[in-house]
Symmetry: C2
Subunit: 166 residues, 2 copies
């Protein structure tokens, strides 16, 4: 049975602190985001970095970024934190994860990409799920691309479309 | 102690069956490849797809692609097969892996990206190591980007450079 997207009013929000997408990757990220948007409304929220970031210690930076980020997250949002300490999923498991959130009435799934030094303890505690792509560390500009592609792929799996080879 | 690149005559070869890099990712892939080339000579070998690929069964396609690929691999090359059934490494583990190959006199490390349906049994048997990036499935155009970035990252780790945050 195909998943009924029409019945769901869920949306995706991708959040990252940092500047606009890297020029060499922007078109690919925009492309996957636009494709995902055909299944669920999807938007990027790029939070401008703190102006004094370079002068702050790693811990202070994480705390201040954490406060900024928490202001963007509503109480009822389902927060997925992307962090290497998290649990890995296969692409099919991600599709089931998304389906299950839609089926249990989640309105917004936020996928939050942490900064270069990780995220604050407050964000870790707020997260409903912590997801790791890989044991490998990728630059956040590439993480943005992987996130957009995997969420798109998950939607095609739910729709039983040909993009994902089994 | 920093790793002595000058003493090594090793090189990297990235092999994939398929057309030239995706237009939206080409600049990023070229950029990381060029950067890696500052540490070890690095080249892409893109093997043109079989002309009758669409008319072949998956098994026949894999076998015929396998024969093509084996012609590109010399007996003494160290073949790393990228495949989701492989072993995951962290970025630091990858850097140690590369260092160890250089120290044991490997002249060429080949990183081979499989096709959409995987690779033939002959290639699996020829592989000296099978490496999995992640439980996630990525399109091969993105795998190319990840490979170029991770090998570059591994080189910066060996040189103790700032690119990789610990």
């Amino acid at each position: 049975m195909l998943y009924n997207f029409e019945r769901s009013s869920m949306k995706f929000q991708f959040i990252n602190i940092g500047k606009s997408h890297d020029a060499t990757l922007k078109n690919a990220i925009d492309d996957f985001t636009k494709r995902t948007n055909n299944y669920y409304p999807t938007e990027w929220l790029l939070v401008p970095p703190l102006k004094n970031a370079a002068s702050l210690s790693e811990i202070t930076l994480k705390q201040q970024e954490g406060k900024l980020l928490l202001q963007k997250i509503n109480k009822e949002d389902f927060l997925v934190l992307l962090d290497e300490t998290g649990k890995q999923m296969s692409s099919v498991e991600l599709s089931k994860f998304i389906e299950q959130k839609a089926n249990t009435g989640v309105k917004t799934i936020i996928f939050l990409i942490g900064g270069a030094f990780g995220v604050s303890d407050e964000i870790k505690q707020r997260a409903n799920f912590t997801w790791s792509f890989s044991k490998l560390v990728f630059p956040h500009m590439i993480v943005r691309l992987l996130l957009a592609e995997q969420v798109y792929r998950a939607c095609t799996i739910l729709r039983n479309e040909k993009y994902h080879h089994v």
